[in-house]
């Protein structure tokens, strides 16, 4: 199933050459075969999946067509509320939590006729991991299970790379969609802040939180965003901005587009892989060859973005978990506690200055994007590290380059660029103007073609 795009699955379903039941049974069989090795799932909803598939097939037979996800399997990160299905946040504190209503995103995917396979592993409360002291084991990278899949949408990245599904929902507060996408060789979109409702998704840091899809291809992402995007008046961060056409421009190429590279972000980083940087440069050359203007641009220092985002995130996260941090500190995993507690050390003036800085940084990115259609930079500076190489403390020198666009809210897409010599995926980010996901996806599609990634087979697990 995972070798067939969502669009192709839709064509086959409508031609009668496959059924949703067949796609679903194949996905469930794949889960049974590989999930014991990659731990992508916390809860497999086989009964729900079979019921969804039977309904999808019956509806199509009766002439009811809910659109491109109709009858197609997908999975959801376990911080999303799902009615009647436990939603644990990968934490002892919520291990028995069974919501009574769906998150907005879960409801939209269900209404689109998709087939819910289950709930995916995460870092605890989308921050603490990878950890071995939680109720469920950490997800592993299907390209090499000794390596992390990235986080916090770790199960989402692992499920796609393991060939279980083409669509897995994630969340991204500092890179939690784009990091696993880069490490697992998937596409991952953090939409513009406000583009997709976060209602019913457990928050990590409300002013930095975004939700979005991880998928096998850019086209799959465009299909998912078309379903998920839209204003939600009950989500205070949701924006009342018309939804674009995310599929119409995908194949238009990059001729005539202007693309900026904030090279200092990754060229001056203390830790980076020459292979990752070389892959970005190869893609930049290929984009030039395809007719884009690609040139270096200057943004404020990466350290400014990183500091701003980390202070806001830890402060907001601590505020959300303050009561449990006081009353039940030992019920948090050790990593989670170690990270959340830093938010208690942020003073009022610190957060005030971080919010001043956030405006300056957002204005700076906006200013550069007045002259460019998109930016291109690293997602992660290195391929996925081994579990035993991952530092316990969350350090400023972490090799992710994703936080800047959580701080500013701009849409950002991680797209694979190839495999490293060690056989692990590498990726880059395409960043765009607010609510211009259509151009981000168009450039991302060009990267997917020019890098040759669309011809790379999934790993053998």
């Amino acid at each position: 199933m995972s070798e067939i795009s969502i669009a192709e699955a839709g064509r086959q379903l409508r031609a009668g050459t496959t059924t949703s039941a067949a796609l679903t049974e194949a996905a469930l069989a794949r889960i049974a075969a590989v999930d014991p090795k990659v731990n992508a799932f916390i809860t497999v909803t086989a009964e729900r999946a079979r019921a969804d598939a039977a309904r999808a097939d019956a509806e199509l037979a009766a002439g009811t067509d809910r659109g491109p996800l109709h009858g197609v399997p997908y999975a959801i990160k376990d911080i999303y509320d799902t009615a009647g299905i436990r939603s644990t946040c990968h934490s002892k504190l919520r291990v028995n939590n069974v919501p009574t209503t769906d998150s907005v995103a879960a409801a939209k995917l269900a209404a689109s006729g998709g087939v819910l396979l289950g709930k995916l592993g995460t870092h605890e409360f989308a921050l603490g991991g990878p950890s071995f002291d939680l109720p469920f084991p950490p997800a592993r990278n299907p390209w090499n299970t000794d390596h992390i899949p990235g986080g916090s949408s770790s199960g989402s990245g692992a499920a796609i790379a393991a060939g279980i599904t083409r669509l897995a929902m994630g969340s991204d507060t500092g890179g939690s969609i784009r990091g696993p996408a880069a490490y697992c060789g998937t596409v991952g979109l953090k939409p513009t802040y406000g583009r997709v409702s976060r209602r019913g998704v457990f928050p990590l840091s409300t002013t930095l939180d975004h939700i979005g899809p991880l998928t096998r291809s850019v086209e799959d992402t465009a299909i998912a965003l078309q379903i998920l995007a839209g204003h939600d008046p009950v989500d205070p961060g949701s924006a009342d901005v018309p939804v674009g056409d995310y599929l119409g421009d995908l194949e238009k190429g990059v001729a005539g587009l202007r693309i900026g590279i904030p090279r200092a972000f990754f060229a001056t980083a203390p830790v980076s892989s020459p292979e990752v940087i070389a892959a970005i440069d190869r893609v930049a050359d290929a984009l030039r060859g395809a007719g884009a203007v690609v040139e270096d641009v200057t943004l404020p220092s990466y350290a400014a973005f990183s500091t701003c985002g980390r202070v806001i995130m830890l402060c907001e996260a601590f505020a959300i978990h303050e009561s449990d941090m006081r009353a039940r500190p030992l019920d948090f995993g050790q990593l989670t506690f170690e990270r959340f507690i830093l938010g208690a050390a942020v003073t009022g003036p610190d957060i005030f200055k971080a919010l001043q800085l956030r405006r300056e940084l957002t204005d700076a990115v906006q200013g550069v994007l007045q002259g460019y259609d998109a930016l291109l930079t690293a997602s992660s500076l290195v391929p996925a590290p081994r579990f035993d190489e991952t530092p316990r403390a969350m350090l400023a020198s972490a090799p992710m380059q994703t936080m800047p666009f959580n701080v500013t809210g701009h849409p950002a897409l991680s797209v694979p660029t190839g495999l490293s010599a060690s056989g692990l995926p590498m990726g880059l980010q395409v960043v765009g103007r607010p609510f211009d996901e259509a151009t981000v996806l168009r450039v991302g599609r060009a990267v997917e073609v020019l890098s040759g990634w669309e011809k790379v087979a999934l790993p053998t697990v």
């Binding site: 006081r326 050790q334 208690a344 800085l357 405006r359 403390a393 350090l395 400023a396």
Partner: protein, 71 residues
């Protein structure tokens, strides 16, 4: 770590701040937390070292809708 902050004073500062927040840090978790705090404290210095005047607005200054929905 900021130059004028010794490991002992860093730990004392951290203990004061988390006590103010009402959290009891399990002692067995303190050593790793202090490593993270030293790194975080260095980042905080980047914020604290920047002077801005009273005209610098915050990112979350908000705009209320006008009556009747006009912008």
């Amino acid at each position: 770590m900021p130059e004028d902050l010794t490991p002992a004073s860093l730990e004392a500062e951290f203990r004061t701040l988390v006590a103010r927040a009402g959290v009891t840090v399990p002692e067995e978790r303190m050593e790793t937390i202090l490593l993270g705090y030293a790194d975080f404290r260095a980042q905080l210095e980047l914020l604290r070292g920047v002077g801005r005047d009273h005209t610098a607005e915050l990112s979350n200054v908000f705009r209320l809708p006008a009556p009747g929905g006009a912008a």
